[in-house]
Amino acid sequence: MAKMRGLLGKITMPFPLGRPTWPANVERTIPKSKLGANYDTEWARRYSVRLVRSLITDYVTKPAINIVASPKVLGTDRLKGIDVPVIFAANHASHLDTPLLLSVLPDDFRHKTAVGAGADYFFDRKYKAVIWSFLLGAIPIERTRVSRRSTDLALEILRDDWNLILFPEGGRTPDGFAREFKGGVAQLALKTGSTIVPVFIGGTYEVLGKNKKGFSPGSTVVNFGRPISPSGSNPRDLTKELQSAVNRLGDEVYSDYWDAALRSGASSTPDLADNGDNSWIAEWNRPRFSDTFEDSKKSRWPRLPFIDKPL
């Protein structure tokens, strides 16, 4: 494009056909950026947009996720009968996490759920802001500093009975190990009284981790936890409780419910964030979802009958 422009030279048209020049003695006011945390996503929650988005989620995103990530969904029974709105708080390892989670959410939640996305990354260009607001119902969240605008928007969304997906780590893990949860989710829940549903997502780092070029199709798992009521807690304790709950959900996936319960009872649940001070042994031992279930080892394609026959 730049090359083309270079060939054609700069085409300028005289005013009024071209842009007016700004008089040098008039103070220039820089318009407030409408991007980043200031991007207005209200349009993406209109009924007509929601309708199109739900069709795309059900008929495009979901099949695509099934092909790329073969999700196994656990714990949806824990969501039965809970009052909306809720905050789904999950560990975060991949750009795949959001479409994966949206596509496996039970029907009661799926089509009225917004997603908290980094304002600096997903809303820094107009086209990106439009795409993510439209496709995922994303709302901009400031990750680097406490922003009143982000908080107010999230509060407004929850008060309008929209559910919210947030990743309390504030970004994707660079190494497959979880990171410490930030307090934003807890503060939001305490302000609105919304229930938090802890969610563990496994396997997405292997499919499309940070710094990976392209997909490595594989198996993933989403394990929904028992809802946490924020009442009578403070942000710090609630954040700790949330992180423990996600750790326990991960333990349930990598071992089983009863072992995880016993370890949780003995306060010895493995910490998903424990990377052993970046040791290679910790990386070596890091549980991978694809190692857990027998069915994930099965061929992704049906075996032809003659393959198993002796030659």
Binding site: L74, D77, D256, W258, L262, G265, A266
Partner: protein, 529 residues
Amino acid sequence: MSPRPGFILNVDKSYPGTLFWHGEGYRIEKLPEGSSVIYAPESLPSLSDPLGAIEDALDNPVGDSDPLDTLLTSGMRLTIAFDDVSLPLPQMVSPDIRSLIIEAVLERAARAGVEDVVLIAALALHRRMTESELRHAVGDRVYDSFYPRGLLLQHDAEDPKGLSFIGLTPQGEEVEISKRAAESDLIVYVNVNLVSMDGGHKSVATGLSSYRSLRHHHNVKTMVHSKSFMDRHNSQLHSSNWRMGAVIKEAGIKIFQIETTLNNDTFPKQFEFLQKREWEWNLKDRAKFITTSKALEATPPWMARNIFHSIRSPYGLTGVNAGEVDAVHEKTLERVYKQQLVHVSGQSDILTMGLPFIGPYNVNSIMNPILVYCLGLGYFFNMYKNKPLVRKGGVLIMSHPTRNEFDPVFHPSYIDFYENVLSETTDPIEIEAKYEKSYAEDPWYIHLYRTGNAYHGVHPFYMWYWGAHALDHLGAVIILGGDPKVAKRLGFMAASTLNDALAMASAYVGTSPSITHLHSPPLLMAQVE
């Protein structure tokens, strides 16, 4: 608006007709003027926070019991027993209330460091549950954790090494229960109460016992003198179980009983009209009735059966109590009666009822003729307190196709019972004396019970005894719309229309009899004055 209590409709000219279940279908019948139709109380509101109610019950037990947390200690042996697939009917929507309670108990056990935990489905002599049924009852998480390690068991009443003799009651009744349960430091029993017969000491003393123990109360004498077995304080079946419960307690076996009660929300939205009073059916209800009943008429029975058995009931939890068995059960009975009891004045000459596609013993299976008999004469007839809805010598008219169909996997001994026993006699006393032992001890039936999904060889006998009180009380039984040959084998008559059935009944109760119809669904219990 608070739910309306039960109602008795006096049939007059303006009456629109009454819904009768008819196996895997239903129809509208017109009862003669002057008849009474008993309608169940409307569904009680369900608890808004079932999990909170469960936690509260475990923390605040009733009767002479400490809270569950104080009963759980590191290093102890804990057995969690739970009701099998015969409850509730139809199976409830997921998550099943049992799974919620079992998880709540397991969480506390894990916190207390209790590692030796075994779960047992309290089958008594019922068939073993299938994997999907077990998963539904305990939940996927618990199933996947416990079953592969052999810690989720189905009670085996024929395993000589797995049973423990506890003692004798003052009446000489032998008490024998699961060895694992008997040797545990604590048994937590998780119950679902659909009718007042369930729960109490019957949970452990029957659910975890053996034929040696069961025969003391599952017999003709006890059943004839259980008036009714739905009325715990006037039921010899329960008296025997309570005596056994006392023996278990004296032996030092600790039971923490958890009982739950459900409301009357038996069918999902598509079939909600079945539970409504007919004169309140709106256009939608009538359209649903017409389309579904016509469609079912044109559907082969096996397909209609599959459709109905796939229904999951949206039952709501009305209460949960935990603690000492007696105290818990009294609270449970209060709630069950609150939901189901209807006051009726006087008995009638004829009792009519429509029998549905499901009973406790044909979940995901065929309702064979013996189970039709048991459902009508055992369960529905006994849904009373004080005295039966029909007078002594009266007539019972029950509507069901009653086909000569059996499930050879679930009910193998039923087939032989029907062919070899009922062809000789239908007298429960003679059947008990002449045939019971051979069926109970038949090694093939025992093998199928222990390794397959078959009811125990003696089970059809118990079904027959279950109706012994009704047989003793009634003058005649007419199966409306039933197969005449099958009805004859059962010792009954068959009629193709209600008018024919009433005409046949006139030979026993005269030409102007009083008629009462027990309207179902949902379930109700009559307090007859």
